[in-house]
Amino acid sequence: MVTVEAVWEALAEIPDPEIPVISLVDLGVVKSVEIEGDRVRVEFTPTFMGCPALEAMKLQMEGAITALGAEPHVDVILDDSWSTDRITAEGREKLRVAGFGPPTPRAAGPTTLVQLQSKAFRCPYCGSTETRLDNIFGPTPCRSVRYCESCRQPFEQFKTI
């Protein structure tokens, strides 16, 4: 019989469909895993609601559970429990190494323009904080585009949500 640990291990092997350096477990989208006989119930909290990768993530999780010989039930939970703070420390480091600015921790209040235009964001290539906001929006809903004044390199910064 499949164990909860085996399911978590299998889910940790699934890469994010759009940013394959990070796994679904690193991303923090797996809220819970429960075993009921041969059925495995996974609670999945989507990231950005219009993200086209969500359907792929769900299918991949179902496939991984089926491969363990169990019947998958992936429930999409549309509550407010996912935020970028759910991305693990390992996940953040993997993003940085791949050239993405990992999301900054959530502040007490909502994000402001002043914060986005501040120098609080570190270039993933050279580590400088001399970076400026180029565009609040980027190649996917989860990312902004910034430019590093020190190494003159544009980079993608994960939005904090």
Binding site: M49, G50, L78, D79, D80, I136, F137, P139
Partner: protein, 224 residues
């Protein structure tokens, strides 16, 4: 809440779907690349919100999200006239974007306090993304107000859209919204009658016709 929640959810979902469609009309033709990316992303977010709202409404109504988004007769769409308008002109696009996001913020704040945990949870999740839409709109308001031509064009656009914007919300929420808008602007906006939700602009029929063409051509269900 005294109204069935599906009523309220459909209002929100229709607003987000139709505005998402209008925003997507800038994809490929926005004045510059950054805005092409921004409006495409915002459109994607709004349509994602619409999908989640339709899914929740569909559970109450015993149907599915696609049926609610695509199969209803035009008379049943509850989207505010503000989002129905087709205005491929930059000052009007920015004016509508800012007016809508300001109104939507008032509405989402109220829904986050709802006793209905599903509605409150979904509102909280939507709000995380809408924060960035508001920042984008605010950045543009600052930019347009900073130069005489921008200010003039923004003022003209806001005057035209103001009665439509007031129709997004009702009662106290409308008053809160109007106060926030007036507080931000260096010029006044008139006291006018709001254009209510039950009005359908001619552009809505054209939009629905285009939006549902694939759905109608494959009624048994297209998969992609």
């Amino acid at each position: 809440m005294t109204r069935p929640r599906a009523d309220l959810l459909l209002e929100l979902a229709d607003d987000e779907l139709i505005l998402g469609w209008r925003d997507s009309e800038w994809t490929g033709i926005a004045p510059f690349l950054e805005e092409d990316v921004a409006f495409s992303s915002i459109a994607q977010n709004e349509i994602g919100h619409a999908r989640a709202l339709y899914e929740l409404a569909a559970r109450d109504l015993g149907t599915d999200a696609d049926a609610l988004a695509f199969d209803r007769p035009i008379a049943e769409y509850r989207c505010a006239p503000l989002v129905q308008l087709r205005r491929l002109e930059w000052a009007r696009t920015i004016a509508r974007h800012w007016l809508y996001e300001t109104a939507d913020a008032v509405r989402i704040e109220a829904l986050k306090d709802s006793d209905d945990v599903e509605v409150a949870g979904l509102a909280g999740k939507i709000e995380r993304e809408e924060t960035y839409h508001r920042l984008h709109a605010e950045m543009w308001i600052e930019r347009l107000l900073a130069a005489p031509e921008g200010r003039t064009r923004l003022e003209e656009a806001l005057l035209e859209l103001w009665p439509y914007a007031l129709g997004v919300l009702e009662g106290e929420l409308r008053e809160t919204f109007a106060a926030r808008v007036r507080e931000r602007l260096p010029f006044g906006l008139p006291e006018v009658e709001a254009i209510p939700r039950d009005r359908h602009e001619p552009e809505l029929a054209e939009l629905l016709d285009e939006m549902t063409i694939v759905r109608r051509s494959a009624p048994v269900g297209a998969q992609w």
